[in-house]
Symmetry: C2
Subunit: 213 residues, 2 copies
Amino acid sequence: MKLFGYFRSSAAFRVRIALNLKSVDYDQAFIHLRKNDQRSADFLKINPQGLVPALIDNGHVLSQSLAIIEYLEETRPEPALLPRDSVGRARVRSLAQAIACDIHPIDNLRVLQFLGKEMKHDAGDIEAWFNHWVKVGFDGIEQSLATDGKAGAYCHGDVPGLADICLVPQVFNARRYPSFDLSPYPTIMRIFGNCMKLAAFDRAVPEKQPDAE
Amino acid sequence: MKLFGYFRSSAAFRVRIALNLKSVDYDQAFIHLRKNDQRSADFLKINPQGLVPALIDNGHVLSQSLAIIEYLEETRPEPALLPRDSVGRARVRSLAQAIACDIHPIDNLRVLQFLGKEMKHDAGDIEAWFNHWVKVGFDGIEQSLATDGKAGAYCHGDVPGLADICLVPQVFNARRYPSFDLSPYPTIMRIFGNCMKLAAFDRAVPEKQPDAE
């Protein structure tokens, strides 16, 4: 099992947590996103989407973090990262996608670079953009977690799973700018704190990766 | 079963196709995104994320298009929208997410509105932004579909499924600006053409919805 990632990539961070939670050993290859390694001819042969993470398992190349984690869930079912019931699974996937579809891609490095280089925005504009999309997303997620009665120590009851795997890297991202106020999100931050007590999350953080700068 | 959608929403379009492919009858409620109905107090009570689609099934409120479709797949397994094998499922989910995470959210209405109203971009800038992210995404998807040997009449063999459900609305989006050149994407357009011959896709198109303008 080999993970192509980058220490600062939220999407690679998700897969590292999932592999750790499932106690799967893996090697890492490092794709330096700021050096544009993800667009190199060699990496595009592995993943034509030109994005990290990619995972190679038994010769099969997998891409897109949520697709990779669903694959891990199907091939290494224990411990489960999704609940057993379909309504619960839909809730967890919705929370995960509220981050993985509707916050993270809009605030991704390549989008911020495009805003600067192509659209000529300064650092202040980019900071406002970044914080805006985290706020819109976190407002809805906090509301769901705080009111629907399904959260426990973690996003869905008392077992860490797919929603937590997406939430933790997004909180790391939300801290990028000190101007972002996390105080309106006590439920998110409580769950984040609980996750960070677990070795599977702690070992996956960006600054503990071999390619951290 | 009740779908909260909007005729022009790509994400709602995906769910309409999935419901049609599975021959599930459903009622529709219309959330006018340009009138900001998705941020109304009434709708936020249904979906705190403030996004369409939302689906109510047996009193359960589901949100996020891919989470809804996975729920439909689990609760109404036939006809299957994902292949049986885990590697195939990962491939289909990756193609779906290449669209649903890495193209569509960046080009979504609320993002384009923010670029105009808050970041003061004119229509030309917004068109260039929109086309850029479709091109980056379609380049990778075309490369995968054309070279990995897994596509048939549809994205994965000869049965329409989750990847096609995401691809077709994205092609509708890609046609938003005549300036976008679709000629580099013969495989995408071949599959799109095959899908559009199916009633499940055709009945789901924006202009055939009751709220179409």
